[in-house]
C-alpha cells in the first residue's frame, strides 16, 4: 500500500511517481517521496509516502496538513497540530516566534499585545510599511493567514498583567514571553511560576546589540522553564535592538517550543 496525500492507494510493482501524479493530481509539479522532493521517473516501492503538489494552488486544510506531515514526519506533525502556544508580546521577538510556529503548523496560537505598528518597529519586527497604524494583533493575524490559513489564531488586543496572564493562557501547552520591558518580563515569569506550574515557559533576557550571536543560549532554569538570551545585553544601552540578533533569540525560543511540545525537556 502507498500513502498518497494522506490517503491509502494500492501499490503496483513498477509504478513511477509521475504516473501516480497524472492519475491522482494532474498538473502536480512538485512530487515528494518519503519526505524529500523526487523526480517523475522515481520508481515507487511498497509503503512509500508521496505528496503531490500543484504550486500556486491554495491548498485545502487537508493538503496543508499532508504537506507538513511529508516534511516534518507524521508523529511530530500530529503533536504540532494538537498543541496550543501562547505568545506574550508580538514585537521583535514575538512576531518572529509566531511566524515560525505558524509555518510549522502549530494547531493553535494565542497572541497578545496592545501596541500599534509604528515606523520604528519595521527595522526588526515582522510588519510591513502598509501596516503602519494598524493594531499589531490585527496586522500579524493578516500575515499569519497568508502563511498558514489553517492555524487557529486567537488575537488578544489587551495589556497583559500578572492578574490576567494565568486566565488568558491557562490552557496553553507552552507560553513564550516576548516583552520588551524588563519589569513585564519579571512579572510574567513570577506569575507563571506561581499560577501555571505545569505550563512550559520560555522567557528572554539579553538580546540587544550586535555582539556574538553564539553568546545567546537557551538555558533551563526550572523543569519546563527556559530563558533565552545572553542575560546581559540591555536595550537601554546605546547599542539598541537589531533584527539579526533579536531574530536569533526569537528562533531559539521557537525551537524550544518545538522541543517542549515533543517532550524534550532538556537544554542539552
Amino acid at each position: 500500500m502507498l500513502r498518497v496525500n494522506e490517503r491509502d492507494y494500492p501499490f503496483t510493482e513498477g509504478m513511477r511517481l509521475g504516473e501516480l501524479a497524472d492519475r491522482l493530481k494532474p498538473g502536480a509539479d512538485m512530487l515528494v517521496l518519503n519526505g524529500a522532493p523526487a523526480s517523475r521517473d522515481s520508481l515507487l516501492q511498497d509503503g512509500d509516502i508521496c505528496s503531490l503538489i500543484k504550486t500556486g494552488e491554495i491548498p485545502s486544510a487537508l493538503d496543508m496538513q499532508h504537506t507538513l506531515t511529508a516534511r516534518h514526519g507524521r508523529g511530530v506533525q500530529r503533536r504540532f497540530k494538537q498543541a496550543t502556544v501562547g505568545i506574550m508580546g508580538i514585537g521583535g521577538l514575538g512576531s518572529a516566534v509566531v511566524l515560525s510556529l505558524a509555518k510549522i503548523g502549530i494547531g493553535r496560537l494565542i497572541i497578545a499585545d496592545h501596541d500599534v505598528v509604528v515606523l520604528s518597529n519595521i527595522h526588526r519586527q515582522h510588519y510591513f510599511i502598509d501596516q503602519i497604524g494598524m493594531k499589531k494583533t490585527v496586522a500579524l493575524k493578516k500575515t499569519l493567514v497568508r502563511v498558514n490559513p489553517f492555524v487557529s489564531i486567537t488575537a488578544l488586543d489587551i495589556k497583559l498583567t500578572e492578574k490576567n496572564i494565568p486566565k488568558l493562557f491557562g490552557d496553553v501547552d507552552v507560553l513564550v514571553e516576548c516583552f520588551d520591558d524588563p519589569a513585564m518580563k519579571a512579572k510574567a515569569l513570577r506569575t507563571a511560576l506561581q499560577h501555571l506550574p505545569t505550563t512550559g515557559y520560555i522567557g528572554a533576557s539579553g538580546v540587544a546589540g550586535y555582539g556574538d550571536a553564539n553568546t545567546i543560549t537557551c538555558r533551563k532554569i526550572r523543569d519546563r522553564v527556559f530563558l533565552v538570551g545572553d542575560g546581559a545585553s540591555d536595550a537601554q544601552d546605546s547599542s539598541g535592538l537589531f533584527a539579526p540578533r533579536v531574530g536569533v533569540a526569537a528562533h531559539h525560543q521557537a525551537n524550544q517550543v518545538v522541543r517542549l511540545i515533543l517532550d524534550l525537556n532538556e537544554d542539552e
Binding site: P182, R190, L193, S205, V207, A232, S233, A235, L241, V246
Partner: protein, 86 residues
C-alpha cells in the same frame, strides 16, 4: 536584630554590633546584616527590584513583599534578573 557583644572589640565595650546572617545567593555563600530585607539585598547587589524574580527556599516571592521580607539564617535565595529588549 541588634545584639550586644562586648567581647568582639574590648576598646569599644558598649558598641552594638549588627548580627550577621549567612545566606546562599544563587548558590554563592553571602553574609548580610540581620534584618536585611530582600529589597535591601537587591539594592546592595545593584539589581533593579522590578526586573528581578526572587525565590527564597523554593518559594516565589510576590513583588509587594520585597520591602518587608527579612532574610533569615540559611536562606537559599535565587534571583533571576531581566534586562530589556524584545
Amino acid at each position: 536584630m541588634l545584639i550586644y557583644d562586648g567581647a568582639v572589640n574590648p576598646l569599644q565595650p558598649y558598641r552594638l554590633y549588627m548580627k550577621k546572617l549567612q545566606i546562599l545567593c544563587n548558590g554563592q555563600p553571602q553574609e548580610v546584616a540581620s534584618g536585611t530585607t530582600l529589597a535591601r539585598l537587591l539594592e546592595d547587589l545593584t539589581l533593579p527590584a522590578d526586573s528581578v524574580v526572587a525565590e527564597i527556599n523554593k518559594k516565589i516571592i510576590d513583588r509587594d513583599q520585597y520591602a518587608t521580607l527579612k532574610l533569615a539564617q540559611g536562606d537559599q535565595v535565587e534571583l533571576i534578573r531581566f534586562v530589556g529588549g524584545g
